[in-house]
Symmetry: C3
Subunit: 679 residues, 3 copies
């Protein structure tokens, strides 16, 4: 695979972040000092103008871009390039006052007042027009400046609106989806239940708080519509930019597994993926290691959207975050470990929110490279500068991408459907957490994993894990069947194949759509546990594993091998883990939510069958590989406070330029990036 | 007492449930299979049309009943009778869109949007008219079909509306109740406090969330009005049916001690009592035994409304429920135990929601006789079919009713008043739970208990327990006094007789209205405990009991016997349990919330005085008696996993046809129904 | 200092409370009995008419004051004086129905309905006019009666309104504050952040729930405005009274540290401070001793507003309160201890809500001197009567005021800013609790403390403690610097001097505005702890103290002495407590939230430097001194159940008339009031 860069002329990895000089226009001394400090911190990129609309256009039709031009010039002269944002992240007060429709109506049916940010009615023609106008002016002012390398559309798009404009668009969306046939919709939503049949599309309202809150079909299509409408808005911004003639790559910044939007629909419109990463480090509900693994998971979700191109870590906190419930200081080793993990997972950037702490506002205490103290000797500044040096040493990694031999299936609409379904237990469904748990088990074995939707081709993977694949889309069963038949290894779990894409239950046995024959099992019942309930499974090797939350009661075909069975309750002795050969492949079905150790044991069994040759890793070490143009870079991250030893590593550590010849030692919380010696 | 049947021509006990064929009209194969499966499951009754309005009348004025006629025919031909519902449980979307007034206004003053169900404005003339029309059409179509045996009005009536129509009716209700004299109302509500005097009835609004939330009088009358208005609505449906000439019995399904409606007011309009029973089995906050006892309590509340006629268990879950917070599987023995408990307590039916799981909708995972799997060999199906066989063996029990020698007093408006009163502690008043606790103690001693309002005649009972009888109605004190005077045994507790029917405190000492002299005590103060607080009582026999939540400080008359006193705190040595002879009877006053063991000891004392001859029961055994026409049926239910032995049982076990001659053995979780050998 | 009385002709201490005869006008027997009981209870004062508007004016324009005249007459003839309230605490229903604007709009933008109390739109001209009219009528009726001694304005003023009238006044307030310059406001609120610049004042709305919730500047000025508007309203009532010619002193009753209003702004308009004290005694989250100390704290907050005049304990509960979450009985010793503590802290009154329990209404179970039982032999009545005797023995204390040699700095707007700031942890900021903790440490050492704003002169104090002084006002740094320079002892803590009066962060290091040089430290970072996190500090003497919640990482000047350092984590060994000499004084900086014992040790160090000569007190003894005209009264309160011995007490115990000659013994929960023997 050839190297693929974020934009034309990219030199090495990018280091920088959001820069808001518009807050300091009356302090030229500070603006000047910023440039000195950026260079000292090895910063080569800033994001500009994300919330500058009210400075660009303080009253309607009056524009001010001189200051921006000057800033971009100065930075450019100092070797710092610009990611240029469209200013639609927040609306000026005059806009909200004059044009009511740009403000959202919330789920209580109340039109919001002016305030906060990220809360536009995405259906509003007025809003789109106003954004178009300011973007044209912005483009005119600085859009062709050589320092500008990339467009950053708006900011952290999200939320939903229940206004009449949105309701009307929702009806149009439904009309199209259901072929203008209200009976098709009634059937898909099972509306005969509770007398919910509509007689026409005009009767359908969004799921308002004091309205229809009992229709899973409505909820699901409302979420799909919200994604569709947001993507439509995103496209309108992109069209403006392209209409102006700009050919620069375009991104918008995502937020983890933000539940409100299926990012994979939006991704199709973008050139580059970027995201904002704000883990809660050192918290009181999980280990530091778990926080790190979950962050790796999110990095991988982003990387897997555009597999052939690095992504951007667009925002992260130097120091602490100010809007968590507890805003604890990041320990000294975290900044480096966290930043290089993103690079390990495929990021070509490490960027921050923000460069300098503002004196006031909602995020005045959000960590920044430059503190209110203002000096270049703070702990945070020193950590950032040191990381800048590291990134320079890793310059040649730029443009390479992770390799993956395994996949984990995760879908936004499956998540929506599972979370919304009435059944199981409200608090313990944990779809996303379950995916994270399986990702962690896979990755900690040294597997390089992609996180993909069920609609994606599987043939390139030796192993596929599909946790809680509650909803099956039209071709999914066929694709899985073919994958296994041809020798694939599949691991599936409880709560698989209950419903189709409309959330209608399959008749004739779960998993539906023919999968019961492929898996060799039918899930007849599922037991839901109170938090204090437990069961236990004995695995094939005699080991025991605790069960929590869920346990399915299976009927199994004769040719199924039982890998584990329940130890207690009225279903004692019934199968809890099964294995079924199908064609050249195997399906392993895990019917209960078990402890990690048991899940890991099952995974190891599948890996051993898959023919994969995994590195031997001690616990607490992250292992990622990026490659391009025949080069391979192994990233080793030590997530624990003790030294680790890893065997069979050969090449050169780019961070120290030391040769690795077999066994290497990893300092506590240390990182190595080994350019592999080609055999 | 003669046998009393639910409807003319009833044959044995009924077994069946809600059947929603309108969800499967495009699947004639499934409708055909339903009949086969019903017969296999020994089902002889279904409830039809509960939520069928939108299928009956998909657009205004266009009706479709052919399918219903066909279903009722087919069922009838197969020996299955129909409980026919009026379809007013949920409104079609077209109705809500066209006639705004049918939608409720919630307590925030916001008109609700279309959605969910059970949310009609009960004052709306339009709604009543529309229900009348559809009911007439329904009657015309199938109302005189011989398979139709009983009317089921609407479904689970409940909720409240704050719209202008309801507000106006509330004012009219108040005007009538207070003789068109606003000063009478002001005095009853003590409105001089906080300047709350109204100058006219037009000033009174319902207790809106952002309105008057500090008036106990308003709250109480609002609840009474809501019951009155709902009953008025219920009557309007009944009048329609009677106006059409139907003489079939009429019921509507209740929901436990649903706090929103005083069912005893509605009961007066009904021919048959029915209710929906959905306990949380195997939960994490009480033992299985407690769940069962509380379910017996609710069965008894229902039975006690119409003592001379069996009630109907109208809905219950085969398998699990899907809308609890944790939806755990019912263990194998539960279905039989739960169903036969209902029969033991006076039900002539065991009915389910629902027959077949729908593919979609809010309750797609609610347990049903036929699963999505669709086969007749699921655990649930087999349990249901076996229960059907049991019910056939108990056919002769039909029409008999429970006998009772003791009563427990519980009132809806006392519950409302206690819960609403400002005082004691918000979380620990537990009026209903306290009643359940006393019911359990009584019933587990083998007492057959009625649960009655304080307005009811007491002379037939040998023992009356009145827990937390906070509110005294006009004749209550007189009735209690007479009851005791003539030899009755009364047990009363803390928080008795504080207020009159308007919630005005009695002056001159609690319990008021003259009861202090009958009881021989005055409660001068009541201490409220934090959850971590404890006191202790030493009883007359030296035994100790922990005190939680509440402890009254009593003044006692000289002729009072002290049965227990406090062991700690500044009221150490003061009386906690007293006994007072009055006429030929006795009152026992329990001034503190004590552990069950102590309460049981006190009850035993009263029983020994009452001359009642109770069976000797081991712990964990439920004992109920039904009788009719000289026959007595003893129900024995084992609530524990170990075998139990019960002495002095003579007769024939109807379930096994085995003779019982003295001592019988009850299997773990087993049930016996012994037809008593007549002396 | 000369004696200063509440009103002209005050005789000794006042004892009494809210009296609501308007609830009993149809019971002359009860009104007559009231007078007998008041005399028996040694009551000499009542508050009248607080919620009588609907009785005074039952329909608009129709007035009834005869009953009030009669009551005041009768009381006066029996030696009982009257505190006369304006009736604006609650509005009659007719007023709300006719004049919509008098009802508030809540933060959801919804106009409230009639109900409750204390919920007027303070901007409404109609409301002010109506209050003026009824006050004029009231004055006319009884305003010059010799029995009336003091005006009581409205009741427990509080809350806020978001209506258009208030929004417009808010804009006017801002326009004036920011010199009609919207850019000045934008800069003060750092509005360039998130594009929040306003283009004109008309764009500014109150912080509505569905509006601007991310602007600290808006929040702070909204709170300041709410205080300003409430004070303006208060002035309007005062003007009415003064306009009528009355020269009686005027008060309004405060509620602890009620967060909604900066009482120190309102205080300026009043002649006398009064407040309502309702501690949660014997609760489950703190010791009885802590509850008492916190109550002393609140008494001291009140006393410190007008240091040269006693305050009034306007309301307290005889017996229990009915609106706490758990309404536990006050133990027998509490009434005396609590009441005499108020006197010890500077109150010249002990007054209750209320004299007699009403039969109904929201507070029918609120403790009162006369119970529903109605007799004079209840525990509560006896305690009240005994306290009345005590107060008569303390008559000569009247008019004296506490002396103070130390101060604790607490500010309302600092509290608002700390609570609103985004940073640290949402649940553990605890500004007020931290102030209480330091007050307790100071007071329990025998220090007499004033609780003052940072704007107040410090020179009279030997020791000043300023906990969490997050916000610095314009002259504060200068004042502190001067205080220390001249020999003052200052103790400051973590979270000091982060922001200016607009909440803009100081640049160049915290504590800002020059204090870093005075203190010798800069706080570079602050670590926020999860509730399960701990660190430890070792103090200069080797003692250890646990750290919770917060720990600052300091840079210290060379001349700073390290009094304690951290024992763990990455900042192990860094300074946690420092001391810096500046001029003739010293600043001690406590950088972490430590256990009480450590804080006490540090305080002792400062006291030893201050030259103060403190009494030697055993633990659990409260010590207060009041003085006037050369007399000193030492109050000793024993907060524990065991006898205490205190040395060096000379004088006469006014309660027993016993001579104290050196060592005295204090009974469990006992009180002594020693009139000091002059040299």
């Amino acid at each position: 695979m050839n190297r693929s860069f974020l934009f034309e002329g990219q030199q090495g990895l990018l280091h920088g972040g959001d820069y808001n000089p518009d807050q300091w226009l009356d302090r030229p001394d500070i603006l000047q000092e910023d440039v000195r400090l950026m260079k000292k911190a090895h910063v080569n990129t800033v994001s500009l103008g994300i919330f500058s609309w009210a400075v660009y256009e303080p009253v309607e039709g009056e524009y001010h871009f001189e200051w921006l031009q000057e800033i971009i010039d100065t930075l450019y002269q100092n070797g710092i390039c610009t990611v240029l944002a469209t200013p639609s992240g927040a609306r000026p007060a005059w806009l909200d006052r004059k044009y009511e429709e740009v403000r959202r109506v919330n789920k209580y049916g109340v039109r919001e007042h002016h305030g906060i940010r990220h809360n536009h009615c995405m259906s509003s023609r007025v809003f789109r027009q106003k954004v178009k106008e300011i973007t044209e002016k912005l483009y005119e002012a600085v859009g062709t400046h050589p320092g500008v390398k990339l467009w950053h559309i708006s900011n952290e798009l999200g939320g939903e609106c229940y206004c009449p404009l949105c309701a009307a668009r929702f009806q149009e969306y439904l009309r199209k989806k259901f072929h203008n046939d209200i009976q098709e919709l009634n059937k898909a939503w099972w509306n005969a239940f509770w007398s919910h049949n509509y007689s026409c599309f005009e009767e359908i309202e969004p799921p308002l708080e004091y309205g229809e809150s009992s229709s899973m079909g409505l909820d699901l299509e409302w979420r799909r519509f919200t994604t569709w409408n947001m993507t439509d808005y995103l496209k309108s911004e992109i069209e403006t930019i392209r209409g102006l003639g700009s050919t620069l790559p375009i991104t918008t910044n995502f937020m983890e597994l933000y539940e409100g939007l299926d990012y994979r629909e939006m991704e199709k419109e973008l050139d580059v993926i970027s995201w904002d990463s704000y883990p809660r480090f050192h918290n009181d509900h999980e280990s530091f290691e778990t926080t790190m693994w979950n962050t790796a998971f999110h990095n991988t979700v982003m990387q897997s959207m555009k597999k052939d191109r690095p992504f951007m870590l667009m925002e992260s906190a130097p120091g602490l975050v100010n809007w968590h419930v507890y805003n604890k200081l990041k320990r000294p080793y975290v900044h480096r470990l966290f930043s290089l993990q993103a690079v390990a997972c495929g990021s070509d950037t490490v960027q921050y929110f923000q460069w300098r702490k503002g004196r006031g506002g909602y995020e005045q205490y959000h960590g920044a490279v430059v503190d209110h103290l203002g000096t270049d000797d703070t702990r945070t500044f020193r950590e950032v500068a040191a990381l800048g040096e590291d990134l320079e040493k890793l310059a040649e990694v730029a443009g390479s991408v992770p390799e993956a031999e395994a996949a984990l299936i995760l879908d936004w609409d499956t998540m929506w459907a599972v979370n919304d379904m009435m059944g199981l237990a409200r608090e313990t469904k944990k779809y996303a957490q379950t995916c994270m748990e399986w990702y962690r088990l896979m990755a900690s074995m040294g597997l390089n994993v992609n996180i993909i939707p069920q609609t994606e081709e599987l043939s390139e993977y030796k192993l596929v894990v599909a946790p809680m694949m509650y909803m099956l889309k039209p071709e999914t069963a066929v694709r899985l069947k073919e994958y296994i038949q041809k020798g694939g290894q599949l691991l599936a779990t409880y709560v698989t194949g209950y419903v189709d894409q409309n959330q209608l239950c399959y008749l004739g046995g779960f998993p539906g759509d023919g999968l019961k024959d492929v898996f060799g099992v039918i899930s007849e019942e599922i037991d839901t546990f109170y938090p204090t309930d437990r069961n236990q499974v004995t695995l094939w090797d005699g080991s025991k594993a605790q069960v929590r939350d869920y346990a399915e009661l299976l009927r199994v075909q004769e040719d199924v091998r039982i890998l584990g069975q329940y130890d207690a309750d009225f279903y004692q002795g019934m199968p809890a883990v099964t294995e079924h050969s199908y064609g050249a492949g195997t399906v392993c079905y895990v019917a209960a939510r078990m402890e990690s150790q048991a899940n890991r044991r099952i995974l190891e069994l599948l890996v051993s069958r898959s023919g994969l040759d995994l590195p031997k890793l001690p616990e607490g070490v992250e292992y990622h590989v990026r490659e391009a143009g025949g080069e391979r870079y192994i990233f080793l991250l030590n997530l624990e406070e003790k030294e680790k030893q890893i065997d069979e590593i050969n090449g050169t550590d780019l961070l120290t330029q030391k040769l690795c010849d077999g066994t290497v030692k990893l300092e506590p919380y240390g990182v190595m990036v080994v350019k592999v010696k080609q055999g």
